[in-house]
């Protein structure tokens, strides 16, 4: 079974943790994740600039490790990211900002990548809100 997973909430929201645990359980169950798409406040999960308190779960770090280890396609919505100041080197250069905070394995791309993933996947699962 092929899953597309979309995340709409920031790293400190409980739903972001649920998205990660669902993704891990899907792979552990022998399923495939065609793409993880980080939209709206979900883009903050891809930011290297997030500093999590020591006694809390460091979700941006866990996403990075998970995506790298499983070689998944982690796509961050570029429009949502730009308006929230979550830039990679290329966008920071383009807009003359000294604030790049997204790097590999993350990739900034358009909403079309979510549409494309949904076409390819058997199920789209969205996480967000509370």
């Amino acid at each position: 079974m092929k899953f597309a997973i979309a995340l709409f909430s920031a790293a400190h929201a409980p739903s972001s943790r649920r998205a990660l645990l669902f993704a891990q359980a899907a792979l552990a169950g022998g399923h495939q994740i065609v793409r993880l798409f980080f939209y709206q406040d979900g883009v903050f999960n891809a930011s290297d600039a997030v500093v999590t308190p020591q006694d809390e779960l460091d979700l941006p770090k866990q996403w990075r490790a998970f995506i790298s280890e499983k070689q998944l396609d982690g796509v961050v919505c570029i429009a949502a990211a730009l308006r929230r100041g979550v830039l990679n080197e290329e966008e920071a250069r383009r807009y003359q900002r000294n604030a790049a905070s997204v790097s590999a394995p993350w990739e900034l791309s358009g909403l079309g990548q979510l549409h494309d993933a949904v076409q390819d996947a058997d199920r789209l699962i969205c996480f967000g809100g509370a």
Partner: protein, 97 residues
Amino acid sequence: MSTLHVLSHSPFGDDRLSSCLRLIGSADALLLCGDAVYALQPDSAPFFALQDRTIKVFVLDEDAQARAIDIPDWAEAVDYPAFVELSIHHDKVNSWL
């Protein structure tokens, strides 16, 4: 065609649960996670609203445990592997974001 409805907001803070119950189909199922598990607070309006319906109600076990919510016999506790299986068992998953 069946849908798994996923709720994560407390039923005491907004109308998501009542909106969901208004349109949920007989073949559909409901998964309560996060603060939505407060719908199982005994003797509360959402508790009775769910109890009176014949739809299948699932609850993310760790979220219920974290909030000290007991799971009634008409609801079923699930873990993440079971959540994945539920999403496959139904044709679509609708998250009430």
